[in-house]
């Protein structure tokens, strides 16, 4: 028997929860209704991008009786073949098909939902195209590369009436949920400031680089897609794209997005954002990597609360968010909840405030349930867009090195032409948001 089938569903989910630290999925059995596992009722899934981050998602979904992964696509043949083999082995069947071009996969009418697990510069295009084909989407974080892409993605979700979940899965962790709810209810009294620490870069490369032969089976032109063309170099492809501004925004959107998301949630700013941003980052002046190696930016919200996001240098490979208010501070990370007074921790878990934030304890389950109910998921793309926008605002402010005023309603900067032009980027033909 295949090892995957040798596990009970519960055991499988428990084990899959530790696959991939960046995914770190909660080890909770889906609470969704049973009896949905008949083939005709299964949610059928395809993947766009099946590298590092997709592996945890695939393993988790393999444990869902009412979900069936039918297709995977990736521009790297090694990735897509390995993923299809993994899925087929997991199901003990041979019907998961691998595609080189995601557009061919999206033309299949038998797919209900798409997991977008590409590098960041592809998120918006892949998700919008999937929704245009009537698919619901789960989009890995950060939602998009630019602010404009984010707004376009949200508009597409509404236009095509699609369920669209952002992969900021900390919203499906009770620890983060209860802390956000506590803050939302004024548990700390008047909130003063929020401090977010994010890890330093975990990858490094030299000051110069050279073109290398494209590995056999990798469609480098398609991997770049809308990003400006550059020659292939191993250091600038899988995973490391995170540290190249043409493709991502470094640790600000890799880790910062998770903790800024909790801050936005706690502040009740899910459909808004700060009004002022300033920061100072250290950006490499040479080499292949171009995202900030030292992050430090501060946002001011209209209610006066200040949010600071900055790099930590204590070697901890996780972030955390600390809320400071009249009654002291509370801190939450993936590993712990701490506070200036133990009583605050008891109050957090007691959940006695009048405001109740919707509770999800499994991000995948929440998405699948919403596909069935047509409700908006816990990390709806509007929320994901607003959180990603804060990251991008910080990144723009650090690059410009001056204080910027932001209108979260119009989603534009006041009196700064250059900053406004940095909200979007042209795409390499033939790619376009249209």
């Amino acid at each position: 028997m295949n090892p995957l089938y040798a596990l009970s569903r519960r055991e499988f989910l428990r084990n899959s929860a530790v696959v991939g630290a960046a995914v770190a999925l909660p080890a909770i059995l889906p609470s969704r209704l049973f009896g949905q596992n008949a083939p005709s009722k299964q949610i059928t899934v395809g993947f766009i991008g099946v590298g590092n981050i997709a592996q945890g998602h695939m393993d988790t979904l393999l444990g869902f009786d009412d979900v069936r992964i039918l297709a995977v696509s990736d521009v790297d043949r090694a990735h897509r073949d390995a993923a299809a083999k993994h899925i087929n082995t997991g199901y003990g069947k041979n019907d998961c098909k691998a595609y080189a071009d995601f557009r061919e996969m999206l033309a299949r009418p038998d797919l209900d939902a798409i997991w977008v697990c590409t590098p960041d510069h592809w998120h918006a295009l892949a998700a919008i195209e999937a929704m245009r084909h009537g698919k619901d989407v789960y989009v890995e974080k950060p939602l998009t590369l630019t602010i404009r892409e984010g707004r376009e993605l949200v508009n597409a979700a509404r236009k095509y009436n699609r369920v669209a979940q952002t992969g900021t899965q900390q919203r499906s962790s009770k620890r983060f949920h209860d802390t956000a709810e506590f803050i939302r209810n004024g548990g700390l009294g008047k909130l003063d400031r929020i401090d977010i620490l994010i890890p330093a870069n975990n990858k490094h490369c030299g000051a110069t680089w050279a073109a290398e032969p494209v590995p056999e089976g990798l469609d480098w032109d398609m991997w770049l897609g809308p990003a400006p063309w550059r020659p292939f170099n191993r250091q600038g492809c899988h995973y490391n794209f995170r540290f190249i501004l043409d493709c991502a925004a470094g640790q600000v959107t890799n880790w910062g997005v998770h903790y800024i998301d909790i801050a936005q949630w706690a502040l009740g700013m899910d459909e808004s954002g700060p009004v002022e941003i300033e920061g100072h980052g250290e950006f490499p002046t040479t080499g292949l990597f171009s995202t900030a190696t030292k992050v430090d930016f501060t946002c001011r919200y209209a209610n006066g609360v200040m949010l600071r996001c900055h790099t930590r240098y204590d070697g901890v490979g996780d972030g955390n968010v600390r809320f400071f208010g009249e009654r002291g501070w509370v801190d939450v990370s993936r590993s712990a909840n701490t506070a200036s007074d133990p009583m605050l921790l008891k109050e957090i878990t007691a959940r006695q405030g009048a405001i109740k934030i919707p509770l999800s304890t499994n991000h995948h389950d929440n998405f699948i349930s919403c596909i069935r109910s047509r409700q908006r998921p816990i990390s709806d793309v509007e929320f994901g867009h607003r959180t990603t926008s804060v990251c991008n605002l910080g990144n723009i402010a650090m690059q410009l090195g001056r204080k910027l005023r932001w209108d979260p309603v119009r989603e534009e900067f006041a009196d700064d032409v250059i900053a406004n032009r940095m909200r979007q980027r042209s795409m390499r033909a033939p790619w376009s948001l249209v």
């Binding site: 000051a207 400006p228 032409v417 795409m427 033909a429 033939p430 376009s432 948001l433 249209v434």
Partner: protein
Amino acid sequence: MAENTPSTETRGGRSRGSSEFRNYEEWFTASPDPWAEIAKLEHGSDRTFATTVRSMVMNAEPAQRPAMETRLLQVLANPKSTEVARMFIVRMLALIGSEKCVPALAPLLADPRTTDVARYALDEITDPAIDEIYRNALGQLSGPAKVGLIGSIGLRGDIKAIGALIALEKNAGETAEVRTAATRALERLTTKA
């Protein structure tokens, strides 16, 4: 840029003549002009000077930007500028460019090998002159370059392009990609109109 060196300077009550300064400066290597250095950019090469120019562009006061735009256009026009340099330049023009870019970029827009290069700068500039050269270039391009340009027209919201896009959509001689792009751009433009 080289700083202007004063002919004399007084320090600690002692006056030093220009010859002393010449000796003093021999200790240093003059910094190359970053505006000249960026013309030599290549993939993988040191981009320290590009970083310098980028900082200058980003921090330029509004009154300084026209002069800076002129300097960027000069590097763009330099036949010795590398392709990577030209790409860098247009991305700087995307930040501070104006309608002054049109004469330099219109020929690049109409050449399918460089359409993207031109769009990187022009897409960000709101000016009717740019909408006009985009519409004009439609008839000169084909393939992916044309699809990309149609996307830009759609995003810019140029409703004057609706007629040309309808013609493309209906033209059986165009590729499926071009016709689909035209349909999508029209959907956006007619929703706005």
